[in-house]
């Protein structure tokens, strides 16, 4: 039987694409290599009774249009949004809480600097104005600047018009901020180092870049476009990130999408002709009118497609596509809630519920990055921590907790030794460092799970262990993602499409790449052009 589309990889974007295509009336088959669907948005039991969002631990947030289009709420998706966005600590271990509520945040910042407190509202409104203009851009197919069609010109015109609406001051802000180092941008607004670090942390999340690297401000603009606030949000699905995968699966199955797990795709053949083929590891051959890869671009073109089917120039560019991860993950099962400096027991429940960051100042973040440039993991890494059991106690046995830690920087390629031999040393480094902020945490650890960039590649199929399917830098952004001329979810192979984080608008649990890709694929399938 030939289905309309085979989706390779049941990450959240793959599932979103599958749902949209099914909704448009196409017959869709989803193939997942692992036994569990969700890709980077999964919840797993890493120790008996302890469940954790194995990889990503908060949403991007997931796009509202996607949620309503696919009726995800009816399919069981529920979000928990703690009042705290980010809690971080200064070099002298004073806590600073950024809340969703502006006035509460202002009184927190007031403890550090009244000037910064006064600037905070303008900081938010400036970004939200620009973010509102950028938001529609995230949901569009990037127009080609390579060979623009009339429609591309129209799309550009639309962006241009929205841009005009900003007014001269914000127009120039947008142009200037995009290529800036986030350290500079943060310093233009605030004096308080820890606040600067909170702002800058969004710019370097998942990137092979420090706050002083040019172009890191892009992450803030992107975040502002996603939810009108440049500071990273704390929004958890109930049941962990797997809650998203679960809702998407239910939605997909309700629309007759077939999802097969344990289906390891070895090879994609998608040249000309009326159909394309997918070969599984077991030798099975599946046919479809279109194959949609949710795998990252490098995996797709370097591993799944026969190089002979590709133009050598394209293949060379794809090999040069930058996707060397710098993030590792650690999940801990804890006997009790850890204590942090300046947070007393009565307020811990509330203040520790969002992201907890260990990144005291800009220099701290930059130093953490420095090590990775020379192929070494940071001895004092930047940590982005969540304790999801505070808002969702079902994830662990009564009174116990789960702690999820994203660790940066841990370069994919180590200069000395390899990740297999140095995993334990790395874990010890992280725990020891964390103990300086959360004394006593060591004694409360029941069990732990460490995922190095190598594990991210081997177990989760992320090329180079890159959590965003490739660097989200100026050269791999928007109409350049993954490559100039191939940003419209189509590829040089007529029947092969991309729908993962390696396409516009990129990584994070947003569902947007999947939704955008589905729109283009549906167009082609309907026109019978492909």
């Amino acid at each position: 039987m030939t289905v309309d589309a085979i989706i390779v990889g049941a990450g959240h974007n793959g599932l979103v694409t599958a749902c949209y295509l099914a909704k448009a009336g196409f017959k869709v088959l989803v193939l997942e290599r692992r036994e569990i669907v969700g890709g980077g948005a999964i919840t797993e039991e890493f120790h008996p009774g302890f469940h954790c969002s194995t990889l990503d631990h908060t949403t991007g947030p997931l796009n509202g249009q996607v949620i309503s289009d696919l009726n995800l709420t009816q399919h069981g998706l529920e979000f928990i949004t703690p009042e705290v966005r980010v809690l971080s600590f200064s070099t002298d271990h004073r806590p600073l809480c950024v809340y969703n509520d502006t006035s509460r945040t202002i009184s927190e910042i007031e403890k550090f600097s009244s000037r910064d407190a006064a600037r905070y509202p303008e900081f938010l409104t400036s970004f939200s104005r620009i973010g509102n203009v950028l938001a529609p851009v995230l949901s569009m197919t990037p127009p080609s600047i390579n060979r623009p069609t009339a429609n591309d010109a129209w799309q550009f015109g639309k962006i241009g018009l929205a841009f005009r609406g900003l007014g001269k001051k914000d127009e120039y802000r947008l142009l200037r901020w995009g290529p800036m180092a986030v350290a500079d941008l943060a310093a233009e607004w605030f004096d308080t180092e820890v606040l600067r670090a909170i702002v800058a942390s969004r710019g370097i999340a998942g990137a092979s870049a420090g706050p002083w690297s040019a172009g890191t401000s892009l992450g803030l603009l992107f975040q502002a476009a996603l939810d009108s606030n440049p500071i990273a949000p704390s929004i958890f699905p109930r049941g962990g990130m797997g809650g998203i995968a679960k809702a998407l699966t239910t939605a997909a199955q309700a629309m007759d999408v077939e999802i097969r797990t344990g289906a390891d795709v070895h090879h994609i053949e998608a040249l000309d002709g009326n159909e394309s083929k997918v070969y599984l590891g077991c030798g099975e051959e599946l046919k479809a009118r279109a194959v949609v890869s949710n795998a990252d671009p490098k995996t797709t073109f370097v591993r799944l497609v026969d190089p002979i089917d590709l133009d050598p120039g394209f293949l060379l560019k794809m090999r040069n596509y930058r996707a060397q991860g710098t993030v590792a993950k650690m999940n801990l099962a804890l006997e009790r809630l850890p204590s942090f400096p300046g947070i007393n027991d009565s307020e811990a429940q509330a203040k520790l519920a969002g992201r907890i960051q260990i990144g005291t100042e800009i220099d701290y973040l930059e130093r953490a990055f420095d090590a990775s440039k020379y192929g070494e993991f940071s001895s004092e890494p930047f940590l982005d921590i969540t304790i999801p059991t505070l808002t969702d106690p079902t994830l662990a046995p009564d009174g116990k907790h789960v702690m999820s830690i994203q660790i940066q920087f841990a370069p994919y390629k180590l200069r000395n030794g390899d990740w297999k031999s140095r995993g334990q040393e790395f874990a010890d480094t992280v725990i020891n460092h964390l103990s300086r902020f959360a004394p006593g945490i060591k004694d409360s650890i029941i069990a732990g799970q460490v995922l190095t960039p190598l594990d991210l590649e081997e177990t989760y199929g992320l090329s180079g262990g890159h959590i965003h399917h490739g660097e989200q830098s100026l050269d791999q952004f928007f109409t350049f993602r993954p490559l100039i001329g191939f940003a419209q979810y189509r590829t040089p192979l007529r029947r092969l499409y991309l729908c993962g984080a390696g396409t516009h608008p990129g990584g994070g649990i947003t569902g947007l790449p999947g939704a955008n890709a589905a729109r283009e694929i549906a167009k082609d399938l309907k026109n019978g052009r492909r």
Binding site: N146, K168, S213, A214, G313, K373, Y374
Partner: protein, 525 residues
């Protein structure tokens, strides 16, 4: 004497002089005022020690726009460029990389390190030339205002779009990468030899407070690749008589066109009347009236020192404060009794006639940057050295030599101590670094001049010691240079224009800002 001028140009640097020359050739009555006793700004030759003449700041030339050489007929005014033959990079393991102007030889030399790289080198060269051709006309245009609503502004933006469209696909790809990537990331795609990448990436960081791995540095690579001497891209040279000879030639051309030039004429402030510039007041109290004032000094001096914030719109002042200078380089000028003897290639030879680059590896370059990020000068800096006395014996006594060392990184803001206390320590670090490769250098030094970023600021009026009058980073280029909305050489003060390196297309002895500004001004006055 005191009759009114059409234009008074502040600063006798090369851009100020180019600006004046073009205005005078169009029939304007022009006066150039220079604070120091010599003309040229940072393009200056001075006899620092008796008998030893140094190109004190800028030391090589390649960016000077050919149309300026042609239109001002600079060779007739004494400009002579002597070619700089290649770049020699000694390595700590005793090996070296020596690229020369002979393509075949360079290719063989690179093949000694990597055959693949030798092949890639050809293709790289071709690609860069294509890119340079694409960017070249952009250098000579007044940046369009992307927020404009005027049809002429749109025409200019459309011109850029169409130009990009006409590029072959691969060049579009390269162009996007060049504008956005780091020098090393960009070069990584072409080459595998560490020392080659390090030496090439060095031109991406000159004058900016960025490392070779910082995005945005690939563009500066191109900026430096665009050097053009005698119509040949990518060739660098010395001016006979030092870099000051360039300024002198331009000054000569300017005078011939009727420009009056005064040195030792420091300016106190720019005269304003009803929000218009009407002339300048000198430090000695003299008032000079002019219809138009053209400033070739950087925005901080122009607006903060010579005008005052109270006369400027608030947004403009905020933008001025955001404009980043952040000098990151120093200069060490050595008077030598003989020639340095490099371990990697002993003896005197043609390798000393070109640039000698201390850039043995990408990590070396990056570590040099890491020091600077945290407010220290590099313990082991990147150094670009030339010995012009080998090519032009007139600059040193017989048998003696001058060596000019450009050093990065030397951050203007030190975390501990001040440059006045650290100057000699910095000088020693530079000499020690050179001595690791050429141990005899210490015995050869007769005298040395150490210029820290603070010295560049004090002596040459470069704010925070930035040699380009402001960093060449993406957010400070083209229509954002020097500040958003004021990239067209105009300023919020009527009849006041900018014509220095702080305007498009930026620093280096290029002359393009001066010329572009003059052409823009002539349309309006």
């Amino acid at each position: 004497m005191n009759n009114k001028f059409d234009v008074v140009v502040i600063g006798g640097g090369h851009n100020g002089l180019v600006n004046a020359a073009y205005l005078a050739r169009a029939g304007k009555k022009v006066l150039v005022l220079e604070r120091r006793h010599v003309l040229g700004g940072a393009a200056v030759t001075e006899e620092v020690f008796p008998g030893f003449k140094f190109s004190v700041c800028s030391y090589v030339v390649s960016l000077l726009r050919p149309e300026i050489i042609r239109e001002l007929d600079l060779p007739r005014h004494g400009l002579e460029i002597l070619p700089l033959d290649g770049t020699f990079t000694p390595m700590p393991n005793g090996d070296y990389l020596w690229r020369v102007n002979d393509h075949g030889r360079t290719r063989r030399e690179i093949a000694r390190h990597s055959k693949l790289d030798a092949e890639a080198y050809d293709e790289y060269g071709r690609a860069m030339i294509e890119m340079a051709h694409f960017v070249k006309p952009i250098m000579s245009m007044t940046p369009p205002d992307p927020t404009t609503l005027s049809p002429r502004g749109w025409k200019n933006l459309a011109f850029l779009g169409r130009r990009f469209q006409k590029l072959p696909d691969d060049d579009k790809y390269n162009q996007v990468q060049l504008m956005t990537m780091s020098a090393v990331d960009f070069l990584d795609q072409w080459f595998e030899t560490d020392v080659l990448k390090a030496t090439m990436s060095a031109s991406g960081i000159i004058g900016t407070f960025l490392g070779v791995r910082s995005p945005g540095t690939a563009y500066v690579l191109l900026h430096h690749y665009m050097g053009e001497i005698d119509g040949a891209f990518r060739s660098w040279g010395f001016a006979r008589g030092g870099t000051g000879a360039i300024s002198n030639a331009i000054a000569d051309a300017a005078r011939e066109a009727g420009v009056e030039i005064r040195t030792e004429a420091p300016i106190e402030k720019i005269l304003l009347s009803n929000g218009r510039a009407t002339g300048v007041v000198l430090k000695n109290g003299d008032e000079i009236l002019a219809n138009v004032v053209s400033s070739s000094v950087d925005p901080r001096l122009t607006f903060t020192k010579m005008i005052g914030e109270e006369h400027l719109p608030n947004d403009f002042c905020d933008d001025l404060k955001r404009y980043k200078y952040r000098g990151s380089s120093g200069k060490v000028n050595l008077a030598l009794s003989g020639l340095p003897n490099f371990k990697a290639m002993p003896g005197e030879g043609p390798h000393l006639r070109g640039a000698i680059s201390i850039s043995p590896g990408v990590d070396y370059m990056e570590r040099a940057y890491d020091d600077a990020k945290y407010g220290k000068f590099s313990r082991r800096p990147y150094i670009d050295m030339v010995i012009p006395s080998l090519t032009d014996p007139s600059v040193a006594p017989p048998g003696k030599h001058v060596m000019s060392c450009f050093v990065q990184y030397a951050p203007y803001n030190l975390k501990e101590g001040s440059w006045d206390d650290k100057r000699e320590e910095f000088g020693n670090t530079v000499v020690d670094t050179i001595a690791e490769h050429a141990p005899n250098i210490k015995d050869l030094i007769i005298d040395r001049q150490v210029l820290t970023p603070l010295d560049l600021e004090r002596e040459f009026g470069l704010s925070e010691g930035n040699i380009f009058q402001g960093e060449l980073t993406l957010e400070q280029l083209f229509f954002l240079r020097p500040v958003p909305g004021w990239a067209q050489y105009k300023t919020p003060i009527k009849n006041l224009y900018m014509c220095g390196s702080a305007t498009h297309p930026g620093g280096g002895i290029m002359g393009a800002p001066g010329r572009n500004a003059a052409l823009a001004m002539l349309k309006e006055i």
